[in-house]
Amino acid sequence: MKHNFLTIAIIGTMATALLVSCTKDLNRQPPNTVTASQAFSTDTGALQALAQVYSSFALTSPTGPGNTDLVGIDAGTSDFVRLLWDASELSTDEAVCAWNDPGVPDFHNMAWTSGNVILQGLYTRIMYQVTVANAFIKNAKAVQKNFSGQGATDIGYYIAEARFIRALDYWEMLDLYGTSPFVTETSPVGVGSFLPPQASSATLYAYVQSELLSLDSASAMVPAHQNAYGRADQACVWALLARLYLNSGTYLGASSADYTDAITYSSKVINAGYSLHKVYHQLFMADNNTNNPEIIFPIVYNGVSTQTYGGTTFIINGAIGGSMSPTAFGVPGGGWSGNRVTSSLANLFPDLTGTVDQRAKFYTSGQNETISSISTFTDGLAVTKWSNLNSDSTTPAGASTFCNTNFPLFRLAEQYLIYAEAVLRGGSGGSQSQAIAYIDSLRSRAAPGNTSYQPSSITLQDILNERGRELYWECFRRTDLIRYGLFTSQSYVWPWKGGIPSGTGVASYLNLFPLPSSDLSANSNLVQNPGYN
């Protein structure tokens, strides 16, 4: 009896000790992390969370340039600008790329499918930012009441900026895909049964418009020019509205086009105190964050602290090859031999050397103007528009491959061109003479003192050509060609359009990109764009 008792005692003690002391060890918290409520408990914490909303544009991940937030795509290629650049430049007369990376050749062949990894990446990158913005808005709203005074004002601005970024994202979805899965801060997050509904072009348009108008009317944003560099202000809201209205015919059908509002909002931006940067090419140099009165909203990069293999690092390195010296562009460790222009874009300029129009930033030595092989870098003119040198020709601190040059997502010149085009397209509230004056100012910057380069009259085609000269390699071309009905049609072809050297028209369904098959497989609410399967 005594022995049995002893046995039970031993076993009992052992088992109890283990159960009591150790099952709590199953609740482990990840190290070096905090919960949402901890992160948002201070003004600085909330600002750091807001920084993540912005940096989702610039970077591929919060854990360095070799990692990515997205899956199914090479980490270095998964940032917003690189993906957008591929989709909106390689598909046009502005660029071809030598690389055979997955999805890249589809663009100049105009043969993309719903499996194209770059289009999938672009779609998921934009929606990733929407998800981060949603989480930010939700968490910030939850803690808003805990703040008072300046803190409360700050949080209010943060939330407005996140809403602006989200509207910008949905505008990108509208422009690129024409449709989008639709989630807001009230949508559930996590793996579960929730499938986001699909928003049509009309719904997206209405949503973007109403969000922007509401931010504007409530003066929710920091006033124009007042915010810290890198953060959005009220002028950004106007600039995006102007862009939205200019393209409204594309999104809603020609009969619903609204050029008057395009004039209204581009005028607001133009009158907000911005001015053209004196020297065109300095807009695209490593120190374009300083003394730059033209940039309304940049994506900020830094070769040391804000590193990505995409963004301007991609644009600058990808453009250097052949006999070009990477050092001469501020990237001594770089030079990736990828992108050149087609002759169609180059021939928009009066000459290739930039003697007449300084915006013709081409590298011709050893480069053939005609592209006989897309995979040969020396076929096609190289572009020197972008550089990682400072405007005084010095190399920025720490430069090797990663670049400091910021990408202007909105700049004043575009607003001039929006104004002019909206006037020509019949919008009211502006004048032809003012339109010509704005074009003049772009021309006179490009060709200082050359009065013969000033137009006395302009046509819609002139505006398109001017946009080509002013905005090439800044991710505008696809949208512009679609607005002019030239993206897919046979009436305008460029070398290698549709995958053949002389160029050819392609089916018009290609005006919209396909929803990625990966999301179609995951979300049964989604319906593919016509023409794709």
Binding site: A15, N32, S55, P62, P65, V71, P188, F194, G335, G398
Partner: protein, 1005 residues
């Protein structure tokens, strides 16, 4: 003589009439070689009558008509039961099958081999692979059916990839669970951090010379007792223990010389120069590339490889100090790699104490294994660089700013070409990466048989495994490989590199167990029950350091946000098992394990893993009594459930925010902020589950001169982790690894051991094993994939950015190649860029999302075979081990990269060498997705051939044995690359496996 014969005949005649009454029988008992067995006993069943054999094995016995059966037995031999017959009987007794009475280690205990119910294979010292063996996994290569051991190249200390019965996971761990002397070891990674920095596998810290036995648990019935960590099978390692008695000393030493077996076929300087000039001839005006040619003739592969010397010395002493049996061993291993600069030095110490106290009621086993390694890791990029570097360039160039080495520079600017190939020799000699690692692993096993309850044992196992690994990588400032780094502190680039790393790991494991064994004779039953609880915790701490340039500047963005990244993971388990044996013929094993893990959220934290198995020892049945040729026959059937959580992330279910790293800041104004980034998460995250069934047959024939087993199995893996697209907008990523897919493995294994010759001077033992495994993915997503969903692209290749060559698709084997079908011209050469347009839309779309691509073969061999032979003649013994894989395919990435003109005349303005395949393909641009590069990599490899001479007692030495050995003797294959054996099927500059020649001596005194 005549008289005696006459008398005998008379006696026989006289006894004839008495046949129906009592009569005498006589006979001779011998062993299978015909040698007489002395002292064998012969009993008549059902009576007390019996006798024993004499010195000549002869017996005589008087029997009556009612005596029907007699039983013949002898110590060391199996008994026989035969019917009584008249006349002179010759009886063979077979030696007791050492195999059958062998004690086999199973989960949390041991069992006699004859009683096993699961599919378990055990390899002991005498069957281990010989030669320059650095790691326990290599000991069993080719020895166990269904277990494939693929070394991960020839670098010193590199581990092997072990797969038991194919793969059981697509996205998480496929490595078996290792159990050392009863203690489960941590997995090789914890939360993506290498558990042992500087040591590639948990096996590498055990000196192979200290290993007594390696046991493989293949089916779920055997492994399910390890629950949620056992899906990929279990490997149990038992170290040598002291056997008591006088101290026995053992010393063995070996010297190994390793050489590269085969160079990659690339163009030599003349061929290369002719090729470049030939290309230039098309456009004589353009001398860009022909001007780059050098005047030297360099075989870069010869430049980077060396003859590697390895020494291995072990000393052990075992015996008993009073009542304390001990074994102490020390070992020192010094290995050079065949890649210049590469070496590993490893010292090991093992201490094993096995005292029995309190009248043998308390059995204690203490094990300690300690390892200290010191390595220099060569820059293995040199392997690929040597194949592709221009052979007309000399390794050195006068006035070169890059340490005197030739490097490619832009001739117009003098800048180093950023993406050009680097001088292979400089890659090695200007790279100094050294690491040290120390591991101490010990466990204490206490087994107390409670005196007041016979058969009841209280057992405690307390184990700890503490390790640290650290090192530095230094590249001098003039090295091209780290020439243009950026730093936070200067405006110009920073040269060189100086960085360090460190990981600490602490693992504890505690088991409290009750074991009750009872033989209940009255109902012919034996029961063996265990119940236990177990706690284990792995805390892996990665230290984060900044990297520096040679001038001491911090390289930009490398300053860590947090000084350490710890990962902590706990597992708590409850286990019960019953082994029930009835009449020594029918055996039932049933076990259940409950695992709770910190890796999953509260609702999915606990899981139950049951298993049941039965065995029927048919040979013991009456009806087989007279089937003399059949020495053993047993059938087994089992069913069980196991899980997989090793290789998974530690905190996947927790929503959290973390600060971005210092390369991922975002500025507002002039202030850079570490951003607070939300992490993706899955609250429903849980383990993969494998359900498996096994049917097995063990047999022995002709006195067990032939033994073997056949197993057929089916594994069905559910809740398979698959990285699937999740609805965009619902998480902080677009794809998550969630429990969604299913996969099956079906297969069969056959193993046979035969003693072809067994005589006084000769013996010849053979083993052959073959396994077939068929893997198929049966579900990957929630089933709503559209017609454009081809599967999950995997298998990243080198070349381009983000190209993948394999795919996971339902209905196909895992990692099947997904490629375009090459079209060939009349001359048999592939036509560049011409592929079969499978969907006939007039264009070819590149994989992975391509209607033109097709599923080619799988990289995993459906058939693997092993063959061993041991031939003994007097004191000589000759052993060989061969292995074969049949039906495995390989993507020849080296060839795909090296075989194109565009890379030879590189657009980045340098020259790059090509494989000789360029003469066959004539490709201008890379054709990564062509099935031209998917090659049949079936092979037969003679792993090992060894000759040993057992000198025996000589002078003061009790035992001296000399041996010579060759490893990796030859490979027969159609594969055109360096080596057909690359785990995963993508051959991308594997560190070549050396051919090793070893001589060794072993002495005992």
């Amino acid at each position: 003589m005549l008289v005696r014969t006459g008398v005998f005949c008379l006696l026989v005649l006289l006894w004839m009439p008495a046949f129906t009454q009592n009569h005498q029988i006589s006979g001779k008992v011998t062993d299978s070689t015909g040698a007489p067995i002395t002292g064998a006993s012969i009993f008549l069943e059902g009576s007390a009558k019996g006798t024993t054999t004499d010195a000549f094995g002869v017996f005589r016995l008087t029997v009556s008509p009612q005596d029907k059966m007699m039983v013949i037995s002898a110590v060391g031999y199996g008994s026989r039961r035969i019917s009584v017959s008249s006349g002179i009987i010759n009886i063979f007794l077979s030696p007791v099958n050492a195999n059958l009475n062998e004690v086999v280690v199973i989960g949390y205990g041991t069992q006699l081999k004859k009683d096993l119910t699961g599919s378990i294979a055990s390899v002991g010292v005498k069957d281990f692979q010989k030669g320059a063996i650095t790691s326990a996994d290599q000991l069993i290569a080719g020895k166990v059916a269904g277990v494939s051991v693929t070394s991960n190249g020839g670098q010193p200390g590199s581990s092997s990839t072990i797969r038991i019965r194919g793969i059981s996971s697509l996205n998480s761990n496929n490595d078996p669970l290792y159990v050392l002397d009863g203690m489960e070891l941590p997995a090789s990674t914890n939360n993506n951090i290498n558990t042992y920095a500087g040591i590639s596998s948990p096996l590498d810290f055990i000196n192979p010379d200290d290993i007594e036995n390696v046991t493989v648990l293949r089916d779920a019935a055997a492994s399910a007792i390890y629950g949620s960590r056992a899906s990929a099978g279990v490997i149990i390692i038992t170290t040598k223990k002291g056997r008591g008695g006088k101290p026995v000393f053992n010393v063995n030493s070996s010297l190994t010389v390793g050489t590269i077996g085969k160079y990659l076929p690339v163009l030599n300087a003349t061929q290369f120069s002719n090729y470049v000039k030939g290309q230039a001839a098309a456009n004589p005006a353009d001398t860009t590339y022909s001007d780059m040619l050098g005047a030297s003739n360099t075989n870069w592969q010869k430049e980077i490889y060396q003859t590697a010397i390895t020494t291995n010395d072990n000393f052990s002493v075992s015996g008993a100090m009073k009542d304390l049996p001990y074994r102490l061993s020390v070992g020192y291993h010094d290995e050079q790699g065949i890649l210049k600069t590469d070496y590993l030095q490893r010292g090991t110490v093992g201490l094993h104490l096995t005292p029995h106290l309190l009248d043998n009621h308390l059995k204690i086993e203490f094990n300690f294994n300690g390892t200290y390694t010191q390595s220099r890791f060569a820059n293995t990029n040199a392997v690929g660089a040597a194949a592709s570097f221009d052979p007309t360039q000399s390794p050195f160039e006068k006035g070169s700013p890059f340490g005197g080495y030739f490097e490619w520079v832009n001739h117009s600017t003098g800048d180093l070409i950023a993406l050009a190939g680097r001088n292979p020799l400089a890659l090695l000699e200007q790279y100094n990466s050294t690491g040290k690692a120390a591991v101490g692993i010990s466990n204490l096993h206490l087994d107390y048989e409670l005196p007041w309850v016979p058969g009841l044992h209280a057992i405690a196992d307390l184990g700890a495994d503490v390790s640290t690994g650290f090192g530095t990588t230094v590249v001098p400032p003039d090295a091209a490989q780290q020439y243009n780094n950026s730093s936070d502190e200067t405006t110009s680039v920073v040269h060189g590199l100086n960085q360090k790393y460190k990981t600490n790991n602490t693992y504890v494991n505690a088991i409290y167990e009750l074991n009750y064994v009872k033989d209940i004779k009255s109902i012919k039953s034996n029961i063996n029950v265990i119940g236990l609880t177990e706690y284990s915790n792995t805390l892996t701490t990665l230290y984060n350091y900044p990297s520096f340039g040679s001038n001491g500047d911090t390289l930009s963005g490398t300053a860590p946000v947090f000084p350490t990244s710890p990962a902590d993971y706990t597992l708590i388990s409850y286990v019960g098992r019953l082994i029930y044996t009835y009449d020594q013929k029918y055996i039932l094993t049933a076990s259940i394990r409950d695992d709770g893990t910190s890796r999953f959220g509260p609702s999915y934290r606990w899981g139950t893993f049951p298993a049941v198995a039965v065995a029927w020892r048919i040979r013991e049945e009456q009806f087989l009594n007279n089937v003399n040729w059949l020495s053993d026959l047993k059938v087994r059937a089992s069913y069980g459930v196991t899980g997989n959580q090793d290789g998974l992330q530690d905190y996947e279910y927790v929503p959290s925010y973390s600060l971005s790293q210092n390369t991922s800041l975002y500025p507002f104004g002039n202030t850079y902020y570490n951003t607070y980034a939300p992490a993706s998460f899955d609250a429903n995250f849980r383990w993969e589950q494998t359900t498996s069934a096994n049917l097995g047959l063990d047999f022995g024939l002709f006195d067990n001169r032939i033994t073997g087993s056949v197993d057929v199995y089916e594994k069905s893996i559910s809740r398979l982790f698959n990285q699937v697209p999740i609805p965009v907008g619902t998480n902080f990523t677009n794809e998550l690894t969630i429990n969604i897919g299913t996969m099956t493995d079906k297969g069969a294994e056959f193993n046979i051991n035969a003693t072809a010759i067994r005589s006084r001077n000769f013996s010849w033992d053979l083993n052959f094993n073959v396994a077939y495994n068929e893997n198929k993915i049966t579900k990957l997503t929630n089933g709503s994939e559209g017609s454009n969903f081809y599967g999950d692209a995997v298998g990243a290749i080198s070349g381009g950015t983000g190209n993948t060559i394999q795919i996971q698709t339902v209905g196909y084997a895992a990692n099947s190649f997904f490629v375009l079908q090459q079209v060939y011209g009349k001359n048999g050469a592939p036509l560049e860029g011409v592929y079969v347009d499978r969907n006939r839309d007039g264009q070819i779309t590149s994989p992975p999302s391509s209607p033109d691509a097709y599923h080619d073969h799988s990289p995993f061999a459906p058939v693997i075979m092993g063959f061993s032979s041991t031939f003994n003649y007097l004191k000589w013994s000759l052993t060989l081990v061969a292995r074969a894989n049949i039906g495995n395919f390989m993507y020849n990435n080296v060839k795909a990269d090296l075989g194109v003109t565009e890379y030879i005349l590189n657009p980045l303005n340098y020259l790059s060498n090509a494989g000789t395949d360029i003469y066959k393909s004539h490709f201008y641009a890379p054709q990564y997705y062509s099935d031209y590069y998917v090659e049949n990599a079936s092979f037969v490899r003679l792993d090992n051939i060894g000759l040993a001479y057992n000198v025996g007692k000589i002078g003061g030495i009790n035992n001296l044995r000399l041996s010579a050995n060759c490893q990796n003797v030859f490979v027969i294959t159609k594969y055109t690359g360096q080596d057909p054996e690359v785990y995963g099927g993508i051959d991308n500059n594997l560190y070549p496996r050396p051919r090793n020649f070893t001589i060794g001596a072993s002495l005992g005194f």
